[in-house]
Point group: C2
Chain length 413, copies 2
């Protein structure tokens, strides 16, 4: 078994994947395997019983949005009796930030990997404050979701199509030269996204008031591009998945209860353990005791070599996730220890344009005892509240150890 050769193939595929935003469609129309009674969610598989507050809140909110229930009790009943099924986004070529709950009627971005042909999907970003992805679901959240679906969605769809596609990989390369790390800081990326779409939005909108609203919504939300970026990272990671003998991690995801990983050479098996509470900066009035365990598919960014791995590109992020600019550089330096390679498209100007660490090697994680660094938002542990901070977290070491044991068994090493 030439592990290095397999890992090289996996990592090269991640690097070479050219992720382009090609369209927008309803989840039920475009996501493979999506169906009327299915909700997708972040992280590894979960049941209602084991789901955290924000996950239950987001499931409730999505079912209210779909017109199937009126409250959390209703949601619980439908999920527990099996009328509504829950499956990971990752089982459907999809990713969603935080709770990641995606229901059949929601619009999703369609990202195509023009190098290898695979596709991935992600929902639209709601912005800040009370939002579904953090488990809020009241009328304010619903109104916003409806506006996104009825007003913004159609304009975005037409604008993306009129643009002929937006190269998200190129956008990310540029954003990393503009102080983003692509996960918690997408300030530059989001306005690069606005720049790419703005003329098309003006052209395709039925009236100028709608164009103005959509331009404002995208411009005001410094996470507008996070969801296309996550789906872009997903096509990169998926391209690297399923290579016999490879120890490269191709999924890292959390459902608010468990942190799970999957490995290129280990088929679709999840390795999971309890997710941890992020360390970071809280909004006024909140502290560790209010925080939910780590949640979301957005760790796909670190899986693809950005986010916490590209911290050195984003020294200003420490005002948001805590620490000093030196810590940001150290974070990237540490990640080189567990990465198989260095990216060619994603580079860090302040490190003389060195490529970001790419391809988390299971062997190196276990050998060095260094787990991946992940940037993340922090959700309140109760349903209905929302975001209370942002910070840093690491996956539990035991999932890498279990994966390595499984690898040794499968490949008889």
């Amino acid at each position: 078994m030439d592990i290095d050769k397999a890992n090289k193939e996996a990592t090269e595929k991640m690097i070479e994947a050219r992720a382009v935003l090609v369209g927008l469609g309803k989840a039920k129309d475009v996501i493979p395997g999506m169906r009327e009674n299915l909700l997708l969610h972040a992280g590894p598989p979960i049941t209602w019983e084991r789901a955290s507050g924000p996950m239950r809140g987001a499931i409730t909110g999505a079912l209210i949005f779909e017109g199937k229930v009126r409250d959390e009790d209703g949601a619980r009943a439908l999920v527990e009796n099996g009328e509504i099924e829950l499956e990971p986004c990752h089982h459907h070529q999809s990713v969603g930030p935080m709770a990641g709950v995606t229901s059949p009627s929601m619009s999703v971005y369609i990202i195509e990997n023009e190098t290898h042909g695979n596709r991935a999907f992600s929902n639209l970003n709601e912005g800040y404050g009370k939002v579904l992805r953090y488990g809020a679901y009241d009328s304010e959240v619903q109104e916003r979701l409806r506006w996104m679906e009825e007003v913004m969605g159609p304009v975005l769809k037409d604008a993306i199509e009129a643009s002929g596609g937006i190269d998200i990989k190129a956008l990310l390369s540029e954003a990393l030269h503009m102080g983003d790390e692509g996960h918690n800081r997408n300030k530059a990326g989001s306005i690069l996204y606005l720049k790419a779409l703005a003329p098309h939005i003006a052209r395709v909108s039925k009236d100028s008031a709608v164009a103005a609203q959509v331009l404002q919504a995208i411009g005001d939300n410094a996470l507008s591009v996070l969801n296309p970026v996550m789906a872009a990272c997903k096509v990169m990671a998926d391209a690297a998945h399923g290579i016999a003998g490879s120890t490269i991690v191709t999924t890292m995801a959390r459902n608010g209860t468990d942190f799970g990983i999957r490995v290129s050479g280990l088929d679709d098996q999840w390795f999971t353990a309890p997710a941890q509470i992020p360390k970071g900066l809280y909004f006024p009035g909140y502290a560790d005791e209010h925080a939910n365990a780590d949640i979301g598919d957005s760790t796909i960014t670190e899986t693809a070599g950005i986010g916490g791995f590209a911290m050195a590109a984003a020294p200003a992020i420490v005002t948001f996730v805590s620490g000093t600019p030196k810590d940001a550089t150290n974070a990237t330096m540490e990640m080189y220890e567990i990465a198989f390679s260095e990216h060619r498209a994603f580079t860090i100007p302040s490190m003389s344009f060195r490529g970001t660490p790419i391809g988390i090697d299971l062997r190196k994680v276990v050998e060095t005892g260094i787990t991946p660094r992940v940037n993340t938002g922090i959700a309140h542990k109760e349903a209905g509240v929302g975001q209370i901070g942002a910070g840093l977290v690491r996956p539990p070491m035991e999932i890498f150890e279990s994966a390595l044991v499984a690898y040794a068994e499968k490949y008889d090493i």
Copy 2:
């Protein structure tokens, strides 16, 4: 004479000045002292005879634009016989990049310093390629100028007014955290500017095709915001001017022949010497021998503590102006040697949010032998060609020495 006290007052005024883009108007309607037979130009005073190729080209282009001449011979005749007069932008609360030629019918940005009440003006940015500011003036240039005046200008005017004003100081603070230095690299600033204006552009445009064109033009031009930024720096520097006893430099400007400075405590006297050829990276096919001497009012950015002084914030700029990211950091470190203070609004994340060096102190320049570092574009030395590269340049030391001599005489030290 308490020089430090005077310098503190000058520098604090520069730091405290809150520069807001409040409107757009025709030069002849809004710039104090502008008149039908006047052209403003970059740098210290100049005659046709001593003017460089790009300056002559820009004068010619502006007079063609005004319908007064058809070619360079015509322009020369009008200027030499005194029918058309030339005066520095700086004598009219104005600044213009490169040749900086501003004619009565051109639209200019209006920037107001909300702290001290003074105003400054700058023309619109034409984008790249063959442009008036680099001395090109053919039909392509004229067509672009007319489109800017007839189509983009009115939309921008209405959009800026509808926005209620755009805080350019705040925009710059943010852009410095996004890899800009605010002079040669305004990538982030220009899309932040687009973000601020986009909804208003959509709303005020007569039709969606025009809105789309204007959004595209602003978004595609990574220097869109340079001119408002320069006028913002001008209100900051002007606020610091005229303080008795202050040795702070309040103007640095080049007309393509001479580099000139003015000093806060030395009234409106210019100290000039021949401008130098920038060192940098040339576009394919060009080299030092094609380069014009340093030209433009854009050194107002360094005067106000950004540009070459904030190089450490913009490591990616070295791909454009030459050097390594380490050189960029060193440039900022060197400028602390000649600066009176550190900025509070303009900070550098990678230096633990240290403020940029602000307030060039004549005494320190002469004592240390360190002249200010300036980032700049490079113009072809012949009229009509345009930009051929970008790089770094320093003003001649002798102008600081002459200014210090004048200071000693005036204040009898």
